[in-house]
Symmetry: C2
Subunit: 116 residues, 2 copies
Amino acid sequence: MKTINLTEKLAQITTHWDPHVIGDYNDNEVMVVKFAGEFPYHLHEDTDDFFLVLSGEMTMDIDTHSHTVKAGELFIVPRGVTHRPRAVDECHVLLIEPVGTPNTGDAETASAKPRI
Amino acid sequence: MKTINLTEKLAQITTHWDPHVIGDYNDNEVMVVKFAGEFPYHLHEDTDDFFLVLSGEMTMDIDTHSHTVKAGELFIVPRGVTHRPRAVDECHVLLIEPVGTPNTGDAETASAKPRI
Protein backbone atom coordinates (compact mmCIF):
# COMPACT_ATOMS: atom_id res chain seq x y z
CA MET A 1 0.00 0.00 0.00
CA LYS A 2 1.79 3.11 -1.19
CA THR A 3 1.44 6.35 -3.11
CA ILE A 4 1.85 5.84 -6.87
CA ASN A 5 3.29 8.75 -8.84
CA LEU A 6 2.01 8.70 -12.43
CA THR A 7 4.83 10.80 -13.89
CA GLU A 8 7.45 8.49 -12.37
CA LYS A 9 5.67 5.45 -13.78
CA LEU A 10 5.35 7.01 -17.24
CA ALA A 11 9.06 7.82 -17.26
CA GLN A 12 9.74 4.05 -17.28
CA ILE A 13 7.80 3.51 -20.51
CA THR A 14 9.63 3.85 -23.83
CA THR A 15 7.02 2.34 -26.15
CA HIS A 16 3.66 3.47 -27.55
CA TRP A 17 0.30 1.68 -27.25
CA ASP A 18 1.82 -0.52 -24.57
CA PRO A 19 -0.12 -0.22 -21.28
CA HIS A 20 1.82 -0.90 -18.08
CA VAL A 21 0.01 -1.93 -14.90
CA ILE A 22 0.62 0.34 -11.89
CA GLY A 23 -2.08 -0.82 -9.49
CA ASP A 24 -4.99 -3.13 -8.78
CA TYR A 25 -8.52 -2.06 -7.97
CA ASN A 26 -11.48 -4.44 -7.51
CA ASP A 27 -10.34 -6.97 -10.12
CA ASN A 28 -9.39 -4.16 -12.48
CA GLU A 29 -5.91 -3.17 -13.58
CA VAL A 30 -4.94 0.49 -13.39
CA MET A 31 -2.48 1.31 -16.16
CA VAL A 32 -0.55 4.15 -17.72
CA VAL A 33 0.24 4.26 -21.43
CA LYS A 34 1.79 6.53 -24.05
CA PHE A 35 -0.17 7.07 -27.23
CA ALA A 36 1.28 8.37 -30.50
CA GLY A 37 -0.10 7.72 -33.97
CA GLU A 38 -3.18 5.58 -34.58
CA PHE A 39 -4.42 2.47 -32.81
CA PRO A 40 -6.56 0.01 -34.82
CA TYR A 41 -10.33 0.27 -34.67
CA HIS A 42 -11.62 -2.32 -32.20
CA LEU A 43 -14.30 -3.02 -29.64
CA HIS A 44 -14.70 -4.76 -26.30
CA GLU A 45 -17.93 -6.74 -26.29
CA ASP A 46 -18.35 -7.02 -22.53
CA THR A 47 -16.40 -4.16 -20.94
CA ASP A 48 -16.49 -0.38 -20.94
CA ASP A 49 -13.20 1.34 -21.72
CA PHE A 50 -11.90 4.12 -19.44
CA PHE A 51 -9.43 6.78 -20.70
CA LEU A 52 -8.19 9.72 -18.60
CA VAL A 53 -5.75 11.97 -20.44
CA LEU A 54 -2.88 13.02 -18.14
CA SER A 55 -0.89 15.13 -20.59
CA GLY A 56 -1.20 16.03 -24.24
CA GLU A 57 -4.28 15.41 -26.31
CA MET A 58 -5.86 12.43 -28.02
CA THR A 59 -8.69 11.94 -30.45
CA MET A 60 -11.24 9.20 -29.93
CA ASP A 61 -12.84 8.16 -33.22
CA ILE A 62 -16.26 6.58 -32.80
CA ASP A 63 -17.87 5.66 -36.15
CA THR A 64 -18.05 8.94 -38.01
CA HIS A 65 -17.62 11.08 -34.86
CA SER A 66 -14.28 12.25 -33.50
CA HIS A 67 -13.97 13.43 -29.90
CA THR A 68 -11.01 15.50 -28.70
CA VAL A 69 -9.83 14.55 -25.20
CA LYS A 70 -7.25 16.80 -23.53
CA ALA A 71 -5.26 16.63 -20.29
CA GLY A 72 -7.71 16.59 -17.37
CA GLU A 73 -10.45 15.07 -19.48
CA LEU A 74 -12.07 11.67 -19.34
CA PHE A 75 -13.67 9.54 -22.04
CA ILE A 76 -15.54 6.30 -21.42
CA VAL A 77 -16.33 4.07 -24.39
CA PRO A 78 -19.31 1.82 -23.59
CA ARG A 79 -18.99 -1.91 -24.24
CA GLY A 80 -19.77 -2.95 -27.80
CA VAL A 81 -18.84 0.40 -29.36
CA THR A 82 -16.17 0.35 -32.07
CA HIS A 83 -13.51 2.98 -31.39
CA ARG A 84 -10.01 4.09 -32.25
CA PRO A 85 -7.77 6.29 -30.09
CA ARG A 86 -5.14 8.33 -31.89
CA ALA A 87 -2.75 11.15 -31.05
CA VAL A 88 -0.79 13.43 -33.38
CA ASP A 89 1.79 14.14 -30.67
CA GLU A 90 2.62 11.88 -27.74
CA CYS A 91 -0.15 11.76 -25.20
CA HIS A 92 -0.14 10.14 -21.72
CA VAL A 93 -3.22 8.32 -20.55
CA LEU A 94 -4.50 6.50 -17.46
CA LEU A 95 -6.50 3.38 -18.30
CA ILE A 96 -8.62 1.11 -16.14
CA GLU A 97 -9.75 -2.27 -17.42
CA PRO A 98 -11.06 -5.45 -15.82
CA VAL A 99 -8.23 -7.97 -15.42
CA GLY A 100 -7.78 -9.96 -18.61
CA THR A 101 -9.27 -7.40 -21.02
CA PRO A 102 -7.23 -7.42 -24.28
CA ASN A 103 -6.36 -3.83 -25.22
CA THR A 104 -6.97 -4.58 -28.89
CA GLY A 105 -10.25 -6.38 -28.22
CA ASP A 106 -8.52 -9.62 -29.31
CA ALA A 107 -6.33 -11.80 -27.07
CA GLU A 108 -4.18 -12.78 -30.08
CA THR A 109 -2.93 -9.25 -30.69
CA ALA A 110 -3.16 -7.78 -27.18
CA SER A 111 -0.28 -6.14 -25.30
CA ALA A 112 1.33 -8.07 -22.45
CA LYS A 113 0.62 -5.29 -19.92
CA PRO A 114 3.85 -5.53 -17.92
CA ARG A 115 3.76 -4.37 -14.31
CA ILE A 116 5.94 -1.41 -13.28
CA MET B 1 -20.75 9.36 -25.07
CA LYS B 2 -18.77 12.56 -24.64
CA THR B 3 -15.59 14.08 -23.30
CA ILE B 4 -15.84 14.86 -19.57
CA ASN B 5 -13.80 17.81 -18.32
CA LEU B 6 -12.85 17.30 -14.67
CA THR B 7 -12.22 20.98 -13.90
CA GLU B 8 -15.65 21.94 -15.25
CA LYS B 9 -17.30 19.26 -13.15
CA LEU B 10 -15.41 20.29 -10.01
CA ALA B 11 -16.50 23.91 -10.53
CA GLN B 12 -20.09 22.76 -9.92
CA ILE B 13 -19.29 21.42 -6.45
CA THR B 14 -19.53 23.74 -3.45
CA THR B 15 -19.34 21.19 -0.64
CA HIS B 16 -16.61 19.04 0.88
CA TRP B 17 -16.59 15.23 1.26
CA ASP B 18 -19.51 15.07 -1.13
CA PRO B 19 -18.66 12.93 -4.20
CA HIS B 20 -20.52 13.73 -7.41
CA VAL B 21 -20.88 11.13 -10.16
CA ILE B 22 -19.52 12.17 -13.57
CA GLY B 23 -19.48 8.86 -15.42
CA ASP B 24 -20.18 5.14 -15.39
CA TYR B 25 -17.64 2.41 -16.01
CA ASN B 26 -18.34 -1.34 -15.73
CA ASP B 27 -20.82 -1.04 -12.84
CA ASN B 28 -18.58 1.48 -11.14
CA GLU B 29 -19.26 5.17 -10.60
CA VAL B 30 -16.55 7.66 -11.53
CA MET B 31 -16.73 10.67 -9.21
CA VAL B 32 -15.01 13.93 -8.41
CA VAL B 33 -14.90 15.31 -4.88
CA LYS B 34 -13.41 18.17 -2.89
CA PHE B 35 -11.67 17.27 0.35
CA ALA B 36 -10.88 19.72 3.18
CA GLY B 37 -10.42 18.83 6.82
CA GLU B 38 -10.74 15.28 8.11
CA PHE B 39 -13.06 12.46 7.07
CA PRO B 40 -13.95 9.84 9.70
CA TYR B 41 -11.92 6.63 9.89
CA HIS B 42 -13.83 3.89 8.08
CA LEU B 43 -13.41 0.78 5.97
CA HIS B 44 -15.10 -0.96 3.05
CA GLU B 45 -15.28 -4.67 3.75
CA ASP B 46 -15.72 -5.83 0.15
CA THR B 47 -14.33 -3.11 -2.12
CA ASP B 48 -10.98 -1.46 -2.76
CA ASP B 49 -10.98 2.34 -2.66
CA PHE B 50 -9.42 4.34 -5.54
CA PHE B 51 -8.15 7.92 -5.02
CA LEU B 52 -6.41 9.98 -7.74
CA VAL B 53 -5.43 13.47 -6.58
CA LEU B 54 -6.12 16.03 -9.32
CA SER B 55 -4.99 19.16 -7.49
CA GLY B 56 -3.67 19.96 -4.04
CA GLU B 57 -2.51 17.35 -1.57
CA MET B 58 -4.18 14.91 0.77
CA THR B 59 -2.98 12.65 3.54
CA MET B 60 -4.20 9.08 3.79
CA ASP B 61 -4.00 7.80 7.36
CA ILE B 62 -3.76 4.01 7.60
CA ASP B 63 -3.46 2.81 11.18
CA THR B 64 -0.27 4.42 12.43
CA HIS B 65 1.03 5.24 8.93
CA SER B 66 0.29 8.47 7.06
CA HIS B 67 0.79 8.64 3.29
CA THR B 68 1.05 11.96 1.44
CA VAL B 69 -0.71 11.93 -1.95
CA LYS B 70 -0.16 14.90 -4.25
CA ALA B 71 -1.62 16.00 -7.60
CA GLY B 72 -0.80 13.33 -10.20
CA GLU B 73 -0.57 10.61 -7.57
CA LEU B 74 -2.77 7.63 -6.93
CA PHE B 75 -3.58 5.73 -3.75
CA ILE B 76 -5.56 2.51 -3.58
CA VAL B 77 -6.81 1.31 -0.20
CA PRO B 78 -7.43 -2.45 -0.27
CA ARG B 79 -10.76 -3.76 0.98
CA GLY B 80 -10.94 -4.26 4.73
CA VAL B 81 -8.29 -1.66 5.57
CA THR B 82 -9.32 1.12 7.96
CA HIS B 83 -8.38 4.52 6.55
CA ARG B 84 -9.00 8.23 6.82
CA PRO B 85 -8.37 10.80 4.09
CA ARG B 86 -7.68 14.35 5.21
CA ALA B 87 -6.46 17.58 3.64
CA VAL B 88 -5.17 20.74 5.32
CA ASP B 89 -6.08 22.84 2.25
CA GLU B 90 -8.77 22.00 -0.30
CA CYS B 91 -7.79 19.08 -2.48
CA HIS B 92 -9.57 17.74 -5.59
CA VAL B 93 -9.81 14.01 -6.10
CA LEU B 94 -11.10 11.51 -8.66
CA LEU B 95 -12.78 8.49 -7.07
CA ILE B 96 -13.98 5.21 -8.55
CA GLU B 97 -16.24 2.91 -6.59
CA PRO B 98 -18.55 0.03 -7.45
CA VAL B 99 -22.14 1.28 -7.71
CA GLY B 100 -23.76 1.33 -4.28
CA THR B 101 -20.57 1.65 -2.20
CA PRO B 102 -21.22 3.98 0.78
CA ASN B 103 -18.40 6.56 0.97
CA THR B 104 -18.38 6.33 4.77
CA GLY B 105 -18.46 2.55 4.78
CA ASP B 106 -22.00 2.77 6.24
CA ALA B 107 -25.18 3.27 4.20
CA GLU B 108 -26.75 5.23 7.09
CA THR B 109 -24.21 8.04 6.94
CA ALA B 110 -23.19 7.90 3.26
CA SER B 111 -23.33 10.81 0.82
CA ALA B 112 -26.09 10.79 -1.79
CA LYS B 113 -23.60 11.01 -4.70
CA PRO B 114 -25.55 13.35 -6.97
CA ARG B 115 -24.88 13.18 -10.70
CA ILE B 116 -23.47 16.24 -12.45
